[in-house]
């Protein structure tokens, strides 16, 4: 399978992961249509 970005789908799990990994967050708002 081709490499791809493993996006979180909500900010709360993103913050939990960011704190655990001591990383900043890239929050991407897009139009899926």
């Amino acid at each position: 399978m081709k490499d791809q970005i493993k996006w979180e789908k909500d900010l709360k799990p993103g913050i939990s992961r960011a704190r655990a990994e001591n990383k900043p967050i890239l929050l991407f708002f897009h139009n899926p249509n």
Binding site: D3, Q4, L27, H30
Partner: protein
């Protein structure tokens, strides 16, 4: 962005290594209201507590997304008064992406970060001199113009 930028191997490697990526729809609530989203794509760099430090609106190519996010990471450190970490990321940005759209602001912020760290005004003037030489038309050169008097 989904078709061009995010499949790029350099972008994938950078984001997976240095950031936690979160993708949501422009109308996802309460986030769309909390972050005042009016257009897409909107990319926001947050610290690990969810506070905003950097935002871009509109398409970014693979060659621009990485330096833009490096600038966002540096702003996180700067805002939290971690000036050594900010300078370190900005030096990397300037070395790896010397021609990016984020570069003039990075030169400016590096000068300010060095000043905030040491209290020595010399880095501010150095930032202006470099901006005037390499990016005379940049808005960041105008913003740094008072430092020529230092």
């Amino acid at each position: 962005m989904d078709a061009v930028t995010y499949p790029n191997p350099t972008v994938i490697e950078f984001i997976q290594k240095y950031m936690v990526p979160v993708q949501v729809s422009y109308n996802s609530q309460p986030l769309a209201t909390d972050f005042n989203i009016r257009w897409t794509p909107t990319l926001i760099t947050l610290d690990s507590d969810g506070r905003e430090h950097h935002r871009t609106v509109g398409f970014l190519s693979p060659q621009e997304l990485v330096p833009s996010q490096m600038l966002g990471m540096a702003k996180c450190h700067f805002d939290l008064e971690r000036f050594d970490e900010a300078v370190s990321i900005l030096e990397k940005l300037l070395a790896e992406y010397p021609k990016s759209d984020s570069t003039p602001e990075a030169i400016y912020l590096r000068g300010v970060s060095r000043y905030k760290k040491t209290g020595d005004a010399k880095p501010l003037k150095e930032a202006y001199v470099q901006l005037q030489k390499d990016y005379p038309a940049s808005e960041w050169t105008k913003r740094a113009s008072p430092y020529k008097l230092l």
